[in-house]
Symmetry: C2
Subunit: 231 residues, 2 copies
């Protein structure tokens, strides 16, 4: 047959899928120790009991393996955020999503660092990472849209410079046409605040101030919901 139906995958197909997964799992394990810059194909192969050249049957280069890890991380975080978006009350939904993002980051700090830390030098993320990268933002936007539709979101009354109005309205067109620019600006503030907090916590900047920081986190999320206009 031309395209193998998933129902009748050959043993070869299954072995390939499984080994691909094992390679990524081992690579993720190494991220924790070495960081992204130190990820080594040879070390992954060694740990898997293979010869290093065998990995080239699965990933054409080290960068492709990195890309796979990045895409997987964005997708896993996005899925966690989407799964946490439940309930009726917008504030309850928003808080749940923010907590889920933080929990995911704390559970896999090195994968978080891979996607929200400093860029890996010499590595250029391909276009395929853009869509998984926006899933968390879209969940938050979704909460705001529902609240806006229900008429419970605070109206846009703050003034905004002309260029920013243009930028946010352009952005609105592609992700939430009914939301006014200033509301999108509020969402952007909350979005950067969310990840700013998580990064500071994970990267050790909060040590000595509010550490452990989950009380601060919950408080800050409440204040951000006020700021966004969720009621």
């Amino acid at each position: 047959m031309l395209f193998g139906m998933s129902a009748s995958r050959t043993a070869r197909d299954r072995a390939r899928a499984e080994l691909t997964r094992e390679i990524k799992d081992e690579a993720r394990r190494q991220l924790a120790v070495q960081g992204a810059a130190g990820l080594s194909l040879r070390a992954v192969a060694r740990e898997l009991g293979m010869v290093s050249s065998a990995l080239y049957r699965y990933f054409p280069s080290r960068d492709d393996l990195l890309t796979a890890l990045i895409t997987d991380a964005y997708d896993a975080l996005g899925a966690a955020a989407e799964a946490a978006d439940k309930g009726e009350d917008p504030r309850e939904r928003w808080l749940g999503v923010c907590r889920a993002v933080r929990a995911w980051a704390i559970e896999q700090p090195h994968e978080y660092a891979l996607i929200y830390g400093s860029p890996v030098p010499g590595y250029q993320a391909p276009r395929d990472t853009i869509s998984p990268a926006s899933r968390v933002a879209l969940v938050l936007v979704g909460v705001a849209r529902d609240s806006w539709a229900a008429g419970t979101l605070a109206p846009a009354d703050e003034g905004m410079s002309e260029p920013l109005t243009a930028q946010t309205e352009l952005l609105a067109e592609s992700i939430a046409p009914e939301l006014p620019g200033p509301v999108l600006a509020r969402l952007l503030v909350a979005w950067t605040q969310l990840f700013g907090m998580i990064s500071f916590e994970l990267f050790g900047q909060l040590v000595g101030s509010v550490d452990p920081s989950h009380h601060f986190f919950d408080h800050a999320v409440e204040r951000m919901m006020d700021f966004v206009g969720l009621r």
Copy 2:
């Protein structure tokens, strides 16, 4: 003499100080290309026309060189923030400081990534970096203190959980005893928001939404000043 007076430093002393500076300058140049994980003593020496073992007269190990770069970066950013803190009006001061921090980060993105990006794997920052690391935060706290003293800062009326109250009051004791816990919590939110925005801009997360982002930045800082209670 036992301790050389700085007025009569020997040629050797001056040469040493100069070479130490040149080594760090070259190392900073390499950060831009290779990132922190790829910083190589051999490459630095090569570029300086020295033999790699000669660097050990200046830095006992690669990690010590990294530490020097980190400390310098925190100090340079701190100095930029302090220099930008001028004028009478608290909002003017705050905005100036935030803009200066962003400008510094944009000018030396790799040094910014070194201190606010993902931690370098296997590298543990020594205690000496803590005090330079807090300079920016202290400048912002200073603005809030002056505003509080002048009676122009919005009073603390928001409710806060008991553990967070305890944490922020403990923090207040060491950096701003007169400020109530909730005011410190507001400052922490603004502080994480500031660096969250800058990191997102520098690390490429804003590409496709509000990029270039200085209009958004100014807007967000204004909203944060409202949030902090600066008038």
